[in-house]
């Protein structure tokens, strides 16, 4: 009797017996599931159906029970026990996960690769039970560029390549130029990007009013360096707006903008933009705009002036309390009512403004978290050096606070990229919108699954890369305090 109990309870005395028996049972169970799912062979078909279904689990469980020997002295066995086989419960879960993976591999593989059709360019080639990647291949241009004319698509490609190249300047900059990088990325790079999209992708006066604003902002920032710190606040409250009005109504006239148009490039209206490139354009601009706006409101929320504080709190809580889709609704149906009748703002610009304001509220909250996390001593030390409000924030507080909130900001930017498909509300079709359009095409009915899987893979790669990059950034700028 005793020996029987001993036999069932694994210990180190008959190590080899247990290991051989246990791994044999375990391998049998895995083999059974493997053969069953890959070659549809049922080794245990002679048993009642539910027993045959559960048998691998039971066998594997007993096998894992047998090899669960603590401190066996065999490296791999100990590793196995420690990681997937700590107790009965974990053993069952591990087995279930292994079986689920083995079971789900054949259908996934056959759908994605084996039974899928890649060749040809009509629907007729898609007869197999697998995916129809031909559909993606045929519609690729539409998914990437929307309704942008085929002959003009090199403009988008060229712009993106140029922007990526110019964006990577930071990696090659020598130490001598490192100190100008912030200026480059905050002022010059966005300006270049804007000019590319304004003149090159659009080829026409799409961002009419926008351009005045950008020029006014850039000019006032450059002039701002020469204004004494004492008056900077008033300066930035008044001058940009005044400059904008002056530019728009007194100095520049439409003819000047017309002069700036590149001849020989066809004008492509924003309604025709679309696909993945539109996702990038919108994410890029919203990212540029929402950051300074958010920073301003974060500072406003912690300001000592009660009225500014209340306005900031109101702004932040309002945008955070409403869903983006209603904000876009507002920009589509309600916002035109708020403007003079002859005043027309392109719907892409309206969408960009709406998304930027919306995300700015989230950025503001994230930055506020960073500002609050800084110890009071930092503020007091800066003040004791005789720094004013702006100097203190720009040189002491913000660099430290922003460093602290890199993960939060990255999450907000990720949310921004994931929110871009919502612009279908204002009638713009980026990649998901184009998919929905393509799937209703009478020639290509019935390939919704392929399209969504394709878009999901693209978005997953973009978002995953962004989150990994932000993690690296966080590690790089981590300072021990």
């Amino acid at each position: 009797m005793m020996s029987k109990i001993n036999f069932l309870k694994p210990d180190r005395n008959n190590l080899n017996t247990f290991i051989y028996l246990g791994s044999f049972l375990f391998l049998i169970s895995v083999l059974d599931v493997f053969l069953n799912s890959f070659f549809s062979l049922n080794l245990t078909g002679f048993l009642p159906s539910f027993l045959s279904f559960l048998l691998p689990l039971i066998l594997g469980f007993i096998g894992l029970y047998f090899i669960r020997i603590e401190f066996s002295g065999i490296k791999h066995l100990d590793l196995l026990n420690k990681h997937i086989n700590t107790n009965n419960f974990n053993a069952v879960l591990s087995l279930l996960i292994i079986f689920v993976i083995i079971k789900s591999l054949p259908p996934i593989l056959s759908w994605f690769v084996i039974d899928a059709s890649f060749a040809g360019d009509t629907k007729d080639v898609c007869t197999g039970s697998g995916a129809c990647w031909t559909y993606i291949k045929v519609w690729m241009r539409r998914f990437m560029y929307g309704m942008y004319p085929n002959a003009e698509q090199w403009r988008i490609n060229l712009s993106f390549i140029a922007l990526v190249l110019m964006g990577s300047v930071g990696y090659f900059a020598t130490d001598k130029f490192k100190k100008y990088l912030t200026l480059y990325y905050v002022v010059i790079y966005p300006l270049i990007a804007f000019l590319f999209i304004f003149f090159f992708i659009s080829g026409g006066p799409v961002f009419f009013d926008f351009s005045y604003g950008i020029i006014a902002a850039i000019l006032s920032i450059i002039l701002g360096f020469f204004i004494p710190a004492k008056y900077k606040f008033y300066y930035f409250l008044i001058v940009p707006l005044a400059l904008y009005i002056a530019l728009k109504y007194f100095i520049f006239f439409e003819e000047y903008i017309e002069l700036g148009k590149l001849d020989g490039l066809n004008w492509v209206e924003t309604g025709a933009w679309g696909g993945l490139s539109l996702t990038f354009i919108i994410s890029f601009f919203c990212l540029i705009f929402c950051f300074p706006i958010g920073m301003a409101f974060a500072l406003g929320r912690r300001s000592n002036f009660p009225l500014i504080r209340y306005i900031s709190v109101g702004f932040i809580e309002f945008w955070r309390g409403v869903p983006l889709i209603t904000v876009l609704f507002m920009s589509a149906v309600m916002f035109p009512m708020f403007l003079p009748e002859d005043f027309f703002i392109d719907k892409l610009v309206r969408a960009i403004i709406a998304i930027s304001l919306f995300e700015a509220a989230y950025v503001a909250e994230v930055i506020r978290g960073g500002l609050q996390a800084l110890p009071r001593g930092q503020y007091e030390a800066a003040k004791s050096l005789g720094m004013g409000y702006w100097k203190m924030h720009i040189f002491v507080i913000l660099p430290q606070a922003l460093k602290l909130v890199i993960p939060g900001i990255a999450n907000t930017f990720l949310a921004l990229v994931k929110d871009t498909p919502l612009i279908f509300v204002v009638g713009l079709l980026e990649i998901v919108g184009m998919l929905n359009l393509a799937k209703t095409n009478p020639k290509w009915l019935g390939f919704a699954m392929e399209g969504y899987v394709f878009a999901a893979i693209i978005f997953w790669i973009i978002c995953y890369a962004m989150s990994k990059y932000s993690y690296n950034l966080e590690q790089k700028y981590k300072t021990d305090r």
Partner: protein, 383 residues
């Protein structure tokens, strides 16, 4: 008197700017509305709506008012949010705990789930479930019954309906059970603080919540029966299930994607919360002789909850706001019914969009107030 010009001027400029912008907008809005012959007002809410909504929790058809349509949309939004929050919380807690499992496979499986679902836009997931996955379901006549009573078809999920007799008695018995449990909890806490005795509150609560409703069945004359959906032929190729409750595919796709997506974020909150409790706490609790269960219940969870609740509240709010994506697959929520159909019919853009935004604002603020209250209750009381 601490009156300084330096303090006043920036505020004055900011306020003037805000007032100017708003004034500009209102002025233009007035002129535009005059030009288009639209008058501003909320009187349309009591007019007859004359459109139909395909899924509604309260009785509604075209003869009801716009306000009723608004209620229909609001209730549908709340329905999706509540179901989504419940499923997302359960799933999120399980996945969050699984991410801390010492088991390598479970750990990686949970990590895979989190990384997979949270890096794909929610709208894309909703489209995927609605247009791709649920369209692959069988037609009503081909559907196989699950457990003999559920029917999952391309036209939705059909579940048996409960038919209650004396439902109020059953309801009161549950209320009574909950009240008794609360009283016993307060009493048990007082006993423990005064005499150091522990009363098995959990067992008593479980017992009460089962026994009282059971008594209502035995004594109070409560009865329950099921109405199982039955297949019915409308035309030669058109079938439908009658009886029972039918959940439209829009609702299923929406709750599925919302909860799968939000669960990933909740899982991360849970993981961060449990990891945030120092290892020393666990060891200290074990060293004074608490059992593993007590360690979890009395030491780890109360501290972890403090870290978990604020970000999780944010996720609940996000889920509620994200439920507005329902408009994209034509689930009749607030945005689709009110900001969509009603807006098209009345053309009252400003009124309707502002009501919709205000509603979401109220929902968000009420959830966050509720959670703030709870958060304050469990926060560390420093003296």
């Amino acid at each position: 008197m601490n009156f300084k010009l330096k303090d006043i001027i920036p505020q004055l400029i900011t306020v003037t700017a805000v007032v100017l912008v708003f004034g500009f907008f209102t002025y233009n809005a007035q002129i535009n509305m005059e030009n288009r012959g639209i008058d501003f007002g909320y009187g349309f809410l009591s007019q007859e709506s004359s459109f139909d909504v395909q899924f509604s929790l309260i009785e509604y058809d075209g003869s009801h008012s716009y306000f009723r349509a608004y209620l229909v949309g609001l209730l549908n939004t709340i329905l999706v949010s509540v179901i989504g929050i419940i499923i997302a919380t359960i799933l999120g807690v399980i996945v969050g705990v699984a991410r801390l499992s010492p088991n390598y496979l479970i750990n990686k499986f949970a990590a895979f789930y989190v990384e997979f679902f949270r890096n794909i836009p929610l709208l894309l997931q909703i489209f995927f479930w609605y247009f791709a996955a649920l369209r692959a379901l069988p037609l009503p006549q081909d559907a196989e019954a699950i457990f003999g009573v559920f029917f999952l078809t391309i036209k939705g999920l059909y579940v048996p309906a409960f038919i209650w007799q004396n439902f109020s008695v059953f309801f009161y018995s549950i209320v009574a059970a909950i009240i008794t449990i609360i009283i016993i909890r307060i009493h048990a806490k007082r006993v423990q603080e005064n005499q150091g005795k522990q009363i098995p509150v959990f067992l008593i609560s479980i017992g009460l919540i089962f026994i009282l409703p059971l008594l209502s069945f035995l004594i109070g004359g409560v009865g329950i029966s099921f109405e199982v959906p039955v297949l019915k032929q409308l035309a030669t190729t058109s079938f439908i299930y009658e009886g029972g409750v039918s959940l439209p595919p829009e609702l299923i796709a929406l709750t599925l994607s919302l909860s799968l997506y939000t669960a990933t974020f909740i899982a991360e909150c849970v993981r961060a919360g449990i990891q945030g409790v120092g290892k020393g706490q666990k060891e200290a609790a074990a060293s004074i002789g608490l059992t593993p269960n007590q360690v979890l219940k009395l030491v780890i969870m109360p501290q972890a909850l403090r870290i978990i609740i604020p970000p999780t509240t944010n996720q609940y709010l996000n889920l509620t706001k994200n439920s507005s994506l329902a408009a994209a697959i034509a689930y009749p929520d607030l945005v689709l019914v009110f900001a969509g159909t009603a807006l098209m019919q009345t053309g009252k853009a400003i009124e309707i969009v502002s009501i919709t935004m205000f509603t979401y604002l109220t929902l968000s603020i009420s959830i966050s107030l509720l959670m703030n209250w709870y958060n304050k209750k469990i926060a560390i009381q420093e003296k």
